[in-house]
């Protein structure tokens, strides 16, 4: 302001300056008879993003003229005295001051770019920004996961591993939720089940991060909308394409590259298309050429495609369709038999692919009634071929969801929904039988070879009712009595799953909550197979109990502390275990008990977070006793911090997790027919690996140009190169062993341009 004052005084036109707060256009007009008047118009946009800036005051000096931008960023000075030079000044909070000397000539369509002071407000995990239906849900929006340390370039699912209750997966493509087996967690895109969320090795999820609006984790005690997962749910929601103009993004890093294009088609519809391709295999092919143990015949690669089309059909109906396709492929020749197992050599091929076409129709019937319909149409394909032993599964998938939401009155709301899925699968299998308990299994070549082709149609039907009831408008209590019914055709099981949630809003900053519910899932295909499994298996179930609270100490400010504390207890029943006579039996029971807390502190440019989970998972199997579950990670601590400094963002995550339990091998018998040793397992999961610790850092630097932004980033995983044993490797006769370390230090650099 002082600068402005000096500027005005030095102009000599006005001896005293007051800039009025008044109306939009040319508030002080010179005498038109003596001076020719011209107009200057244009638009005001944010530099780099070209987002229109509305309701912003612009000044022209020395004439002391003021204009205000409209909703599209358009502004007009309609009566500017013509002259050699004048100054255009914009001073907006949160942006760098703009000042330009320009000739006072008739000017139209001038674009002024204001540069933001901070382009990224890095926050690793923020809950509550998204309208959540479930109090138990943890969400990350795109703005949050895109800059998360350890997320390997902003991957939403990897970023979700910073959330409370998510275990460390040792670099695998698995998600461990509150100690549950990864197979007990469901993966959804727009509410529809997909077979996997990660590409090879778990480095990257199957969808371009910039096409994802948010990722949501439902770890326990969630509502009746979802089931078929006694562990938890990971859900990705694709974004709605932007409609203001065409936007684009392209990126390249050491592992993959890709791009995204989105924008309006007409005034009612918009589109988004994104694609990624990984060339990590080309690098690995060079590595493999120096290794005699295997030859890469096809470098491992993956790609994924995402397409979104949205159309506002009319005032009541909105249509959105999402297309997702993903493929992973690897071919190699194993020169040396892996694990000295003669069957594990020769040509190896693994291919995993799926696509989903997900049309969604939302109908706002009236101000209190809404109807959502969606379909998931697609195909899943899996091929594993090891020297002529193969598993080849192709499934056509149709899933359907419909939901009616009716708000009867402010204190009563009903959700009635259907959640159905049909899988029609073709199997081609030529594999030996396998038996593994406690992670120690019989060698591949020892199993009895079973070859068959089969077709199977699996139908899963689900219907649910959710009620949200408050005793009165002013009541702090909300009761959510819920009910879900599932039928699984595979074992002809019908299961009623009552669930109940309770909220108490003690004050605006403190929410108390509790839940109880029953959850069920069908046995896995191999468990229920009449060739490999047991047709008589029941569906495993779990009862979840949760209790917790959230306290927001920020008092309306964006800075301050937020605190969340949850406790959970899960009772598992009818857990499926391998059996020597029946292949599989519902012989297991188990419990998982734990607590988690999350403290987030924000202060100006600093963001820090502490996430801690304690859990104890125990499974009981007749004949094997009670033992820790495979994913019993007692302590799980994440410390996350970030600092923004204008164009720089620095972030780091430190993770400490108790070592996974494992089963020791106490001896081995030589199978002289198959020339392989068969391990003898010790007490199941009686030993543990050393604790896991990992420090990840990430540095982002933005270069902001008028019409686009370039971001360069450095992401280093396991900066301290911690050993982090994840597995035990044995000599051919199991007399010698060593622990296999996890992912070593892994730096990635990348560039991303967006407009």
């Amino acid at each position: 302001m002082i600068y402005l004052l000096i500027l005005l005084l030095s102009s000599g036109v006005y001896s005293q300056v007051t800039i009025p707060d008044g109306p939009a256009v040319g508030s002080i007009a010179p005498d038109p008879a003596s001076v020719e008047l011209i107009s200057i118009s244009g638009r005001l946009q944010e530099k780099g993003t070209r987002n229109p800036l509305s309701d912003v005051s612009l000044f022209i000096l020395p004439h002391k003229l003021k204009a205000t931008s409209d909703a599209n960023g358009q502004f007009t000075f309609s009566a500017v005295p013509k002259g050699d030079a004048c100054s255009l000044i914009v001073n907006l909070s949160g942006y760098l001051k703009y000042q330009e000397t320009l000739p006072c000539q008739e000017t139209r369509d001038r674009t002024i770019y204001l540069e933001k002071r901070f382009y990224t407000s890095f926050e690793t995990t923020v809950t509550g920004k998204v309208v959540k239906r479930d109090d138990q849900a943890q969400s990350l929006t795109q703005d949050e996961f895109i800059k998360a340390p350890g997320s390997f370039g902003g991957d939403p699912v990897r970023a979700a591993q910073n959330l409370p209750g998510v275990g460390q997966n040792g670099g695998s493509a698995q998600i461990i939720v509150q100690g549950a087996s990864p197979e007990d967690t469901g993966y959804l895109i727009n509410g529809h089940r997909v077979p996997l969320v990660f590409h090879f090795g778990g480095l990257s999820s199957v969808i371009t991060p910039e096409a994802v609006e948010r990722v949501e984790l439902l770890p326990s005690g969630y509502g009746p909308e979802y089931s078929r997962a006694i562990g938890g749910i990971i859900g990705l929601t694709t974004k709605e394409p932007r409609k203001d103009r065409i936007h684009g993004m392209a990126f390249i890093d050491l592992l993959n590259s890709g791009g995204l294009l989105e924008g309006p088609i007409d005034d009612k519809s918009s589109f988004l298309f994104a694609a990624r391709y990984s060339y990590i295999g080309q690098v690995l092919k060079v590595v493999a050429a120096q290794n005699d143990d295997f030859q890469l015949s096809t470098a491992p690669s993956y790609y994924d495609l995402t397409g979104i089309y949205q159309r506002r059909l009319n005032e009541k109906n909105n249509f959105k369709t999402t297309f997702i396709a993903s493929k992973d492929e690897l071919k190699l020749i194993l020169n040396r038999a892996a694990s000295d197992d003669r069957e594990l050599r020769g040509k190896f091929k693994n291919s995993t692919q799926f696509f989903r076409f997900i049309p969604q129709l939302t109908t706002q019937i009236d101000s209190r009634t809404r109807m959502d319909h969606s379909l998931g149409l697609g195909r899943d394909s899996l091929l594993v071929d090891i020297g002529g032993r193969y598993l080849d599964v192709n499934s056509n998938v149709i899933s359907h969801r419909s939901e009616l939401i009716k708000e009867w009155k402010p204190t009563s709301k009903t959700f009635l929904g259907l959640d159905n899925q049909l899988n029609s699968s073709d199997f081609r299998i030529n594999l030996p039988s396998s038996y593994s308990v406690g992670g120690v299994g019989t060698p591949f070549s020892v199993g009895e070879l079973r070859k068959f082709e089969d077709k199977e149609t699996l139908i899963q039907l689900g219907v649910y009712l959710r009620q949200e009831l408050k005793p009165s408008d002013e009541s702090r209590w909300t009761f959510l009595p819920n009910l879900r019914f599932d039928h699984f055709s595979v074992n002809d099981n019908s299961i009623l799953q009552p669930r109940f949630q309770l909220r108490y809003q003690l004050d605006p900053s403190l929410l108390l909550r509790a839940s109880w519910g029953k959850y069920a899932q069908s046995p896995r295909p191999q468990e229920i197979s009449d060739k490999y499994g047991n047709r008589d298996l029941r569906s495993p179930t779990a009862i979840h109990y949760t209790l917790g609270f959230s306290k927001d100490f920020r008092g309306g400010s964006s800075d301050g502390l937020e605190f969340t504390n949850n406790y959970f207890y899960k009772e598992l029943d009818d857990v499926v275990n391998p059996d020597l006579k029946k292949n599989y039996l519902n012989s297991g029971t188990g419990t998982i008990i734990g607590g988690e807390l999350q403290a987030k502190l924000r202060r100006e440019e600093w963001t820090s977070q502490l996430v801690y989970t304690y859990l104890k998972g125990r499974l009981h199997t007749p004949g094997f006793g009670t033992r820790p579950s495979e994913y019993d990670q007692t302590h799980n601590l994440n410390l996350i911090g970030s600092y923004n400094s204008e164009r720089w963002t620095y972030s780091a995550r430190f993770r400490f997790v108790s070592g996974n339990p494992y089963t020791p091998v106490t001896g081995a018998s030589f199978d002289s027919d198959n020339d392989v040793f068969i391990p003898t397992r010790g007490t199941i999961y009686s030993e543990r690996f050393d604790p896991f610790n990992q420090l990840d850092i990430r540095i982002d630097r933005k270069f902001v140009y008028e019409k686009w932004i370039l971001t360069a980033y450095l992401d280093i995983q396991n900066l301290l190169n911690s050993g982090n044993a994840q597995n035990v490797e044995y000599s051919y006769d199991y007399r010698e062993k060593k622990k296999v370390r996890g992912l070593p230090i892994l730096p990635t650099v990348g560039l991303k341009g967006e407009f």
């Binding site: 690098v283 690897l330 194993l334 038999a337 003669r342 019989t442 199993g447 020339d675």
Partner: protein
């Protein structure tokens, strides 16, 4: 680079780089194979078993084992290798003498004395037609205690009502650089086995369909000195000797297995 290499290997096999004893190196007492004069028999049939043993550092000795024979508890589907489940099991003992002239002249590696085993005549009773056709295993377990370590090895004898029974592979020829082996070995020489007779057999799949299968022949390689690049090969596939042979004699062993219990052994003292 190492990180990426490990990443790939984690995907498909495992990150090697160990200092474990090599599977193809003959050092201590070791059972390399068990030969049956008839890998498959009809119920009630008698089989003579011979252990192919290597003990290059044993200096000639007698090593004893406790034996047990019983119906297979289901090793192929995960059962522990043991006869404890079978009240009709047959227990006995067995001795390997590595001081015989044949052992002495072949760096203490050779066939031990035969053990005669009779498969119960009732072994196929109460078995499914598929099991009767494909065969039910009768296992013979040898428990050695040698040099302070327990060694357990076992052999399956397949009892079947299928008319045509498996026989051991035979007629194998050892090649060096695709020529008949000449008794010498140098670094980088390629070794392979050819000429093995490959049989076909009928097999009842789990879906009830009958399939004619060709045996898959595998060769296991062992040396008393040095290392081979591929300790296991397919028939006709080469393995490379990666060391310089010693000035003294060394032993090269190749064991040919079909995938139905048939075995043929070959050994060469070099030079």
């Amino acid at each position: 680079m190492k990180a990426l290499s490990c990443l790939l290997i984690i995907l498909c096999v495992s990150c090697g780089d160990d200092n474990f004893r090599k599977v193809d190196r003959l050092v201590g007492f070791r059972v390399l194979a068990i030969l049956a004069d008839a890998p498959e028999v009809a119920p009630g049939g008698t089989v003579n078993l011979q252990l192919f043993v290597s003990d290059p550092q044993g200096a000639g000795r007698t090593v004893t084992a406790a034996t047990a024979s019983c119906v297979d508890p289901g090793v192929s589907v995960g059962a522990t290798v043991s006869c404890d489940h079978d009240p009709t099991r047959v227990s006995g003992s067995y001795a390997v003498d590595t001081s015989t002239p044949d052992f002495v002249s072949n760096l203490r590696t050779g066939l031990a004395a035969p053990l005669s085993v009779t498969v119960p005549a009732t072994i196929l009773q109460n078995r499914s037609p598929r099991e009767q056709f494909n065969g039910v295993s009768y296992i013979v377990i040898f428990d050695f205690e040698v040099d302070g370590e327990r060694l357990r090895t076992f052999k399956r004898i397949i009892a079947t009502n299928r008319g045509t029974l498996n026989t051991n592979p035979s007629g194998s020829v050892l090649l060096k650089n695709n020529l008949p082996f000449d008794g010498t070995l140098r670094k980088d020489d390629g070794l392979s086995v050819t000429g093995t007779g490959v049989e076909s057999n009928d097999y009842l799949n789990i879906d009830g369909s009958q399939e004619s299968r060709l045996e898959q022949i595998d060769v296991s390689w062992y040396v008393s000195h040095g290392e081979l690049d591929r300790p296991k090969t397919f028939l006709g596939e080469e393995t490379e000797y990666q060391d310089t042979p010693p000035d003294s004699t060394m032993l090269l062993v190749s064991i040919i297995r079909d995938d139905r219990g048939g075995v043929e052994v070959m050994r060469e003292v070099i030079p």
